[in-house]
């Protein structure tokens, strides 16, 4: 094993760039900031690839099992005996895989943004934020400590906030940024409490130790943790459930998904990077990271995850069918795909063939990152071209944007699970894993998969077909800088499916055999094709979807009124029900008491002013009265002795 300390440079390079551009990006590096950022990203990517190569092919495997390595660890903050936040690097297959994904997609987005964001007033700042995000995300995937993950989790959240709110003068962007941050923060609350619970049960925050204690079958730690109960569930289950809530927040699982569509207010490359490929899969990554713990300490939670995942997948797919904003459709599709990854984890077992779900989930994560980034970047080109997000403003663009058209089509095929594109392989594995474990989940997933094909091609047709193009004929497709990333990603969408993923990534580090089962694949592929055809049929005419009056359509279009429910809870219950009374209470009761003590004193003072009547005889009468009273008191108290 080589000296791995150089891994530190992978996340630190973007950090340095962030600091440089953050401090001086506005003035000195506003123009050149993009190039600095891209260059550093390139270095990071190369290093990641090199690491991945080394890990997977050279030194990572010992005795046929991929090992955990902790090449670097620094105690960042001590809490107490055994509990400390360490900043460390944990290398295992999923880390390395994620490292590659993050740095690679980030590089693509960096390059793409060079052209896309050109001429922005805050170009340098944009790259600073992008670098901050990349740093945080890299830090997240490298984390060796559950609290470290939480830290980077928060940082990721804030960089997402900054990037969504990049157009800070747009009220909707600010609102979306706030919404994204607050919703995920709320989820993080769950994660935090979950961490507290787990830390208490395992007496450690370190992943390696944690997995050793709570992720090893039959360990006494598990027995202890399972014994203590709260509301009928073992405490550890609660803890893991809460941790999952954190993951669900970032990964936009129902019902914490509401921020994701709004987050599309950010610049499109940002959506590609954060809200499609990397950050939103953090939840999946987190569950995968703690997978042994889930499996052995709280299998019930895992089942729950499966249901949440598949429901989210279906739910999002349904909504995606009716949305008219290109980016929102993609956002819902992202949500849906993450649902796939989630339930894949949920139906997975640990080790051997049982662990297919795990591998499939990670595989899908990998392929999805590539084709979803591609979709977004294409969408960016389209939006750039028509200056609108609305599908109604588009149509027939295949002549104007030939490269984009092709790339988009490839990506759509990939996501729809049409062989031989990348999505097919990963999705197939997921479905297989679900089929073996849970038939209900499998059925829903199958349906969702068909729906995916339908709405993706709805999008595709609406953008590129069925409309005479007239108004935007004069634009060129864009600079090569814009197109190169598309092409690279398109190649990725085609080719990555062929990677024997199971050899590299699995729950226990041992290879999983993932052979393609042709007879199993027939159904999903056919269903996918049906979806595509349906889309082609329905949307070939302009201004289709005339049945927009039907109730179901309306409900779907309004995203099942989830936003309204949230609005009701926040505005009516939290603001008016708690905040206002609290403020009122403070102003009137607590403050009122303070003021009241003042007024009452003044009142008393005023009411006894008559004592000082100005009449000398009254004074002396009081004098005598005083003497009499005191004498009586003295006689009463002291004369009896």
């Amino acid at each position: 094993m080589p000296d791995l300390i150089y891994i530190l440079t992978i996340p630190l390079l973007p950090l340095v760039v962030f600091l440089l551009l953050g401090i001086a990006g506005r003035n000195s590096f506003n123009k050149t900031g993009g190039y600095i950022g891209t260059l550093s990203m390139l270095v990071s990517t190369v290093l990641s690839l090199q690491l991945a190569y080394g890990y997977f092919f050279h030194w990572g495997k010992v005795n046929g099992v991929y090992q955990h390595f902790i090449p670097y660890k620094l105690t960042w903050l001590d809490f107490s005996e055994g509990l400390s936040i360490d900043l460390g690097i944990l290398l295992d297959p999923i880390t390395v895989m994620m490292l590659v994904v993050v740095s690679f997609i980030s590089l693509m987005v960096h390059v793409y943004s060079l052209a896309y964001m050109k001429g922005e007033e805050r170009f340098g700042v944009y790259y600073a934020f992008l670098s901050l995000f990349t740093f945080s995300m890299l830090g997240l995937v490298l984390s060796s400590n559950i609290f470290q993950i939480y830290m980077f989790w928060e940082l990721v959240g804030v960089s997402s906030f900054l990037l969504i709110g990049f157009y800070y003068q747009k009220s909707s962007a600010v609102a979306a940024a706030k919404k994204a941050f607050i919703v995920t923060r709320f989820a993080d609350l769950g994660m935090l409490i979950g961490i507290l619970i787990i830390a208490f049960q395992a007496k450690t925050l370190d992943f390696t130790l944690l997995i050793e204690r709570l992720g090893t079958p039959g360990s006494e730690w598990i027995q202890q943790a399972v014994q203590a109960g709260f509301l009928g569930w073992p405490v550890i289950s609660w803890g893991l459930l809460l941790v999952f809530v954190g993951g669900a927040g970032k990964s936009a699982m129902f019902p914490l998904h509401i921020w994701l569509p709004d987050a599309m207010e950010g610049p499109t490359p940002v959506s590609a990077l954060i809200h499609a490929a990397t950050m939103v899969v953090a939840g999946v990554f987190l569950v995968a990271r703690l997978f042994p713990v889930y499996t052995f300490s709280a299998p019930g939670v895992l089942e729950f995850i499966a249901y949440v995942g598949v429901f989210s997948a279906l739910f999002a797919a349904i909504i995606a069918c009716t949305q008219t904003d290109i980016k929102r459709v993609l956002a819902y599709s992202t949500m849906s795909q993450i649902g796939f990854m989630m339930f894949a984890l949920g139906v997975s077992g640990y080790g051997g063939e049982e662990g297919l779900g795990f591998t499939a989930s990670q595989f899908h994560l990998f392929t999805h990152a590539i084709f979803k980034a591609l979709l977004f970047l294409c969408a960016g080109v389209v939006i750039h071209h028509v200056h609108s997000n609305e599908l109604d403003a588009m149509g027939g663009l295949r002549k104007d944007l030939p490269v984009t058209h092709i790339c988009f089509l490839l990506a759509c095929l990939a996501i729809s699970g049409i062989p031989p594109f990348a999505g097919f392989f990963s999705k197939e594995e997921i479905l297989l894993a679900a089929y073996e474990k849970n038939k209900i989940v499998f059925a829903l997933a199958l349906f969702t998969s068909a729906l995916t094909a339908f709405y993706m091609f709805r999008l595709y047709f609406k953008i590129f077909w069925f409309k005479a193009f007239s108004h935007h004929g004069h634009h060129k497709e864009g600079s090569p800088v814009l197109l190169i990333p598309l092409c690279i990603l398109a190649v990725g969408s085609i080719s990555t499916g062929f990677i024997p993923f199971g050899n590299f990534v699995s729950g226990d580090g041992k290879p999983v055999h993932t052979s393609l089962q042709i007879n199993f694949s027939i159904a999903p592929v056919l269903l996918g094709l049906v979806g595509i055809l349906a889309a082609a049929f329905i949307y070939k005419r302009e201004r289709s979807g005339g049945n927009s009056t039907s109730v179901i359509y309306m409900i779907t279009k309004r995203k099942f009124y989830i936003d309204e429910v949230y609005l009701f809870i926040t505005k009516k219950i939290i603001f008016n029900g708690i905040g206002k009374p609290a403020a009122w209470f403070d102003k009137n009761v607590v403050d009122g008491l303070v003021n009241f003590s003042g007024t009452i004193t003044e009142k008393i003072a005023r009411s006894i002013k008559k004592l000082q009547s100005g009449k000398v005889q009254q004074y002396t009468m009081l004098y005598l009265a005083g003497i009499i009273v005191i004498t009586l008191a003295m006689l009463y108290f002291f004369n009896r002795i």
């Binding site: 002013k609 000082q612 005889q617 002396t620």
Partner: protein
């Protein structure tokens, strides 16, 4: 009736004292108030003499107290009358209610 003795004199002087106090409280004319004070001081003198005579004749403390009280009473009365006369000049009355300007 009993042979008069210490207690008789003490009761007498107490009565006298509180008669003075009553006068102090109830009169409106400043000079009559002053007169009431003289009554009170006199009763005290009587007390001292009675104690000196009946209880502590070994020393003349009571007598000296009385003497000095009488002297002080004179000085006090003189000063009080001067002040009252001055008040009369400024207020044109010696009713005690004239001096109620400062209050509360």
């Amino acid at each position: 009736m009993m042979e008069p003795g210490l207690y008789h004199i003490l009761f007498l002087s107490t009565a006298l004292f509180f008669t003075g106090v009553y006068g102090f409280f109830s009169r409106r004319n400043l000079i009559t108030i002053l007169m009431s004070i003289e009554l009170m001081l006199n009763s005290v003198c009587l007390n001292f003499i009675a104690f000196n005579k009946y209880v502590w004749p070994g020393k003349l403390d009571g007598v000296f107290m009385t003497l000095f009280i009488i002297a002080i009473a004179a000085a006090e009365a003189a000063l009080a009358i001067a002040i009252i006369i001055n008040l009369y000049r400024s207020h044109q009355t010696i009713d005690v209610s004239s001096g109620e300007e400062m209050k509360y």
